[in-house]
Amino acid sequence: MVVKPPEPADAGVRAPVPALEISGLSIALRTGRTEKPLVTDVSLAVESGEIVGLVGESGSGKSLTALAAIGLLPHGVEVSSGDVRLDGESLLSMDRKRLRSLCGSSISMIFQDPLSSLDPCARIGNQIIETIRAHRRVSVGEAKRDAVELLDRVGIPRAKERMRSYPYEFSGGMRQRVMIAAALVLRPRVLLADEPTTALDVTTQAGIVELVRELRSEMQMSVIWISHDLGLVGRLADRVAVMYAGEIVELSPTADLFRSSQHPYTAGLIRSGTRLSYGERFGFVPGTVTEPGHWPEGCRFLPRCDRATEACASHPSLEVRGPAMVRCVHPLTEGSGSEGSGS
């Protein structure tokens, strides 16, 4: 089932193929003969030049979704159904050779810890040049020029000299910029960013976020930005997908998400992250996340929801409500079910 944001009524023109389209993706952990679902039926379309934030906490499956798209699922974890298409071409059914040729050039990924994604024993210049020349037939000199240009663009001072530096010689924020440069040097259509600023100081974070926003405009690049930090994503994304227990529970344009969130979990997240004045109670969502493998048959958020009724015993599907898609039988914008008040 392909789910996209609602199209305008006069869409006589065929809508362009989304840059990245995830449809009905399910991922499971396979141990021996048992299969434990980790992500179920995730569908998300990212248009060209759009930044979509993928927000969730532990157990939400947000990272796995991105890793599946680029073919980097860990051992034992497999896609059990669904597809991921890059510009219409299926990433999951292509052969390894084609996938490898697309990685870095059409779709790229950056991670939380740049130290483990950059080779600590190689100079950063060489790593970037290597990436370029693995995908394009250019001379070392040209590749070098491209590399320096991009390092400069991402804000590395004295880029030409720093080409000869090793990753450990950079601070955390700078290293992250180097990783971004390495990921973007071939101008990919889609960038997957898995918590790239989580390990950085808040002051550094803002700089990286700004950088990605600018690059998105310059390169007409689509971005999926994964984070547990709803506030951070709010500053950056055009649309936000909130994941809980392996599925998307709300998908909405950013402003709508914050102004009038519909899923109780989203509201709970916003409440939990909102800071008040001294002495006020902190917002939270009662209970704890249910682990994969222990998900109930019905609504997975039910144990923690104060709007639950018998209707929630059957698993809700993602439905359109206004500008958003919500997976809830009693979303916040309607009245509640037969009893209880809105939160």
Binding site: L29, L38, V77
Partner: protein, 303 residues
Amino acid sequence: MSLTTADPFALEPEPGRALAWRAGARLVHRSNIFWVFGSLVLLVGGVAGVLIQVVPSWRHLYLDQNLISTFQAPFSSGHILGTDNLGRDMFWQLVGGLGISLSIGVGVSLISVVLGLLIGIFGGFFGQVADAVTNVVVDVTWAFPAILLAVVFAGWIGPSLTTVILALALTNWAGFARIVRGEVLSLRERDFVSAARVLGVPKVIISARHFVVNLLPVTMVMVVYFIATSIIGEAGLSFLGLGVQAPTPSLGLILTVGRDYLAISPWMVVLPGVLLALGVLFLNALGDHLRDLLDPFGRIQRR
């Protein structure tokens, strides 16, 4: 969030009582029948071997000499593995030898492990001076050949079971102490250790309660490896005449005597040799298997 941890001590969310039993049961459950069966065979053989030397009415099994039917081949004249140079039943000689080997193995292993734990923790947790001193002691001991120590002991108290155990244990512990020290260096930085210190728990108690318990997986694996190396060590020392003396059965002794009679009958060399090889091979493999289960991150190296 971590997806899986190959931790055999990891249980499903239920109240955990007698964690050690469940962990042990789980280890057995996760090992295939080969390991369990093999370990049982060794265990039974070893116990039998000890019993026949200790229980007076059973001692004849391996001591009875029959100078008429010496050097019998296996499956002949009522002796399933033949007889040795004095007509003694080979099967019971081997069983007895296995008992000796395993007893020494377990003895050396336990002493090594205890010494290694004590000294390793001392060096790793009780200050820089302690660490420096321990490192010197460990390095010297590590380099010291067991055979040399055995010769010294043999000269001093005479060759015997005790000599073997002392010589092997007093050189063996150093390798384990090194491993322990390394583990302690990282364990002591863990928050639960810091918390214990803030709670006022004395260092000695922290060592016993937190370090030793968390080192159990490493220790268990090393115990198995040490049994294997001690068996070889004992066989070697007895072969050289520095270890147990007749009439105590020993695989090394049978080998050394059999060597002289190789022209007459190969069985006195082949049989103990094969048993030694299989036993040690099995123990090493068992150690590897335990290591895969208990230490998937590869902190233990077999020496």
